[in-house]
Symmetry: D2
């Protein structure tokens, strides 16, 4: 039982290999008769695409999304929305020498062993290129959410050891895209960019942290006991390539707090004095801002020589000279937003489904 679908009511099915004809997706369960701004969908895709700045990979893809079904005269039909993004820049030759070698900390070894076959070109299905599909679906979800007053923003809050000291409620969302590293603080951003550029020269890679928050989420989204909205957000984030951790609200820091410090006292109207809960209590949104952090490991593709084995189980050296990102975190910002939108819209619709009359 494969796992290429996400969501229950608003459901995305993703397909495609990195160097095949195209990648794409099908959204089933999109509410009908809603206007979708397709230009904005493309803009989100542009925020994720390779080659967009000096700190990303040189690989260039147009990443133009083409809609095949489900949208008629600019509006959703309530039928499946299918779309594809063609794979144009297929330098498959670059990958020929990787055909029989398992790149360390990549999925080459596990795919080969699980499936008995793999498309080795650029990682095939395991490539992060697949996440472009999520950005398309996520932007459609975000447009629908915006109609009910929900907004989602993510930004880079840490690269390696350089950390933004402002919290989610102190930043200006308009500044997020003002730097190529997508950190909404100019001086921190500059340090991050400098470190990434230096690391690129070294042929090495860097990890980072993305903080995301959603405003305007009504009280009541989330389905206990298993499908808590935080549980589904955690799954959504860990389903993104290179993600190693998730924490909601106070997260790992809550460990060192006492209950009397950590509890969010409830004020008149249901607002809370503090928001250590991160907007979710008992798995259900409480009307406060939902916020969380996502940890990204340093990307596995580096130019430095490494030890590994080939398909004949022989020890070999590997030096990857394809075009890759020294740090994927800035490009992952729209992906985190997209997955968040998918989770929240799905839970919004799930909540609708429990009403009579």
């Amino acid at each position: 039982m494969a796992g290429n679908s996400f969501g229950n009511i608003f459901k995305l099915t993703s397909f495609g290999e990195s160097h095949g004809t195209a990648i794409g997706g099908v959204i089933d369960g999109c509410p009908s008769n809603i206007e979708i701004d397709l230009t904005k969908v493309q803009l989100q895709l542009d925020r994720r695409k390779p080659g967009q700045s000096s700190i990303t990979t040189d690989r260039k893809e147009d990443d133009k999304v083409e809609f095949i079904s489900g949208i008629f005269e600019g509006k959703t039909l309530g039928t499946p929305i299918a779309f594809i993004i063609k794979n144009k820049d297929q330098k498959s030759d670059d990958y020929n020498k990787l055909k029989d070698v398992f790149r360390p900390s990549h999925a080459d070894f596990t795919y080969q062993n699980k499936f008995g076959i793999r498309d080795h070109r650029g990682g095939g299905r395991s490539s992060a290129r697949e996440t472009a599909v999520r950005v398309v679906a996520g932007e459609i979800a975000q447009q629908i959410l915006s109609k009910i007053g929900i907004s989602i923003h993510a930004y880079v809050s840490k690269i390696n050891t350089i950390e933004l000291t402002k919290s989610y409620d102190e930043i200006d969302v308009n500044l997020i895209d003002s730097t190529i590293v997508r950190c909404p603080d100019d001086s921190t951003a500059k340090k991050m960019i400098a470190l990434i550029e230096q690391t690129k020269l070294e042929g090495d890679s860097l990890g980072g942290k993305i903080t995301c928050f959603a405003k305007g989420v009504p009280v009541g989204l989330g389905e206990p006991v298993f499908d808590r909205i935080n549980a589904d957000l955690a799954k959504a984030m860990l389903s993104i390539n290179a993600v190693k951790g998730f924490e909601l609200g106070s997260g790992f820091d809550s460990i060192s707090m006492k209950g009397s410090e950590h509890n969010d006292e409830i004020l008149s109207g249901g607002k809370t004095k503090t928001n250590f809960s991160g907007g979710i209590q008992g798995g259900i949104s409480n009307g406060e801002v939902i916020y969380f952090n996502v940890a990204f490991k340093p990307v596995a593709t580096i130019k430095k020589s490494q030890n590994t084995i080939n398909q004949d189980n022989e020890q070999v050296k590997i030096e990857v000279d394809g075009r890759h990102d020294p740090c994927v975190v800035p490009r992952a910002v729209p992906i985190v937003e997209a997955m968040t939108a998918l989770v929240i819209l799905d839970h919004y619709l799930r909540n609708q489904s429990s009403r009579i009359g």
Copy 2:
């Protein structure tokens, strides 16, 4: 669309309110003709039950599991395994004064607003009592996994600021239950216990961290791109009451590492030199030990006076005098193991489903 089922092939449906007749569960999809040791199921339940030691709540529940179906002459029938655990010690009166008040950082407010009704007694459905159901199902899963060579162990690695300095591969699993705090290092455990006892006297509560690891997981479990085994583990953990964070392998620490440090070089036979990946690459198990950390916030129920509102939206003071744990983390150890077992067995069976002949 509610969310009281977990898993796809080996699927647990959980039911029951804390102070209703009983809690219980139904496992659908359990392989047939497998002997189950029901005594061991009860033993796991005893590891979770309240009142087991001086650092847990005084609330006493026998927590005896009764099997209703699906097991015949000691073996699984392949039909649904239903079981209940009766709620014996129902001091519902304790909760009468909480009937109209929303306890801070509990689910009272969100349940009331989502459902328009709630069973206020002991938190009703939102009570962590529900996790006993998971322990029953998880132990059945663990017994099946043990037949294919997979073992799962969790332990307390941090309480508040007191942290175990040994890593998962340095501890002795036989020592986990040798202390009531379930930390497999005697001197660290003593400090943790002292802190919990002191906090109990203060009427306050503490958070902590549980580390869990699974050995013997074969290469190939996990279904990209969304149902990565790490994504499903993250969801499983965040579905546990009071959990605020999850990190796999190097987790949040990976942020400050470089790719050249973090990559796990592959040795002959497919073993890796290091295991920063935490046993999972591209969402699929690679045969190494799967390990991860889970962050628990300090439990919300404390004796100290707090500000909140009642159902009439009036500001009131709340002082809870029911019997509660100053620190739930030691009792959560079997829950973390159980949820891990559910995820791994489900993925084992999912992997079986993709084979012809």
Copy 3:
């Protein structure tokens, strides 16, 4: 991947073996804060229970439903509704001699071969006793549907060759339960009863047909292209023990009609002149009455001697002397209604889930 759950939003999970401790079910996804009349649930169960009249089996079961969770002070909590029906009259000894023999046209052979084990007592899980669970869930669904103006009625329209000549819109639903055979026409009912009584004496069994119709279903229920409401009704009916066929509206008779005769012309307001479509067009309800027929084979348990094999693959004679129905069709009426209610309510809630705002 087992199949003991039905429905997507309003989801019933059924459990239990015929001669185990109990059978029961869990409903997940029931809308919250709705009053349920538990007395009426029991009354529906009484319509299905064995031993209710001279033409049913002599086996007596109290079939008392006990609710375990999900209902608080008479109202649904929005949490799982679990219930059990204890198996009281367990004459398991009757079944000892069937332990190693496969009854013809029963599930003994297929269960044994699929699972490698079976509870042979009374058919275990394969017994039609399981359908009592559906009646409980179905009555809860019917009560919810009645609040939105939907009513469901089924009746016996044929026993062997004795057929009711009135169509669904000519009968009086108040007469359905006025005869023990549940045929709402006195003279036809008498003939049916006489035939059943005679067949009982012969130790043989009879098949029959049930017609069911739902009034008040709003336009718009059903989800193309696969989850058409007629497709889900067909599945629901074929999931009932002994059912061999399903036809919607004009059904098999439509084969001999021409398009110009069969098409339902549309009148002002959307009503149709005829209703050969059976209230569903393109898989979606059109506001007309939904009606369909269900074919039941003669029940497999007969007293007459038959040839079969035992577990050692030896040819043996079998004569079943347990207490069984000569014709299950009258007792199946509430089951057909229940499954219909589950399908319609599930689709009503699915339709709700596609709305924004």
Copy 4:
């Protein structure tokens, strides 16, 4: 919650409107490393395509399937198999005058009311053109099933009142495609063709019956109690456009039989003397041939003038002059086979998922 996916393990998601860019599908859960003969996939599609003979519509579509992902060097990757079939012959103008009119017994009225919008061109999503997608997926399933010895054949057994008198085990499957009506008996076929041609001239349409059978299905497929393989076959068939009924084995005829006649006595080795059960007992395959009938109504599109309403609820006359089939039943033969293959392969894989070791 929409319904454009079918299957649980081998899962097809279908998309596309009749006159949009393309229709297509995504198969998730296809076993990996299996060779697929893409030429045979196209041949199946040709069996379904319009304009193939004198008794089908004149509408011509090349119906060329293009694979986008999931197949690499001729073999399945275990990743989603996406494919599209472009809509070439889009005479959308033909449909302009139908833009505001609801065709009787079509889905125009129900789609418009459910979704508040519809693609009126050729029925949009409700067009039977969508079934081409099923034929592609079904042929892939059939190729996999053939590797485990399972074969599936369907044929036309009745058109209007002209019925084939041979049963499924008396026909020669090689003759099915020897006549354009797909009835494997030359003299019956001639009568059927003559009737269809005459009806075409009259501008009217005809219904019919398709019989389908599967050989080589191993004992044990099907998941009680709800996901019986017969229940899933019924759903599959009723999900096909124009289908009004389904009957397994003895079907509706079983009503007039007695248990002693109908029971299938079991012979040594588990074979049965008769096969009234249609190869399924208790919802699980018993190793005998699975066979069933499917009733198709006369197609709703006719040239004769009919009464209906438009979107302003005004009574209007409608005369459809597009190119349509007088009888869709012969073209539905590969669709019935395809849906059967999807059900059986899905259940084969479900059965695999319940095994340990």
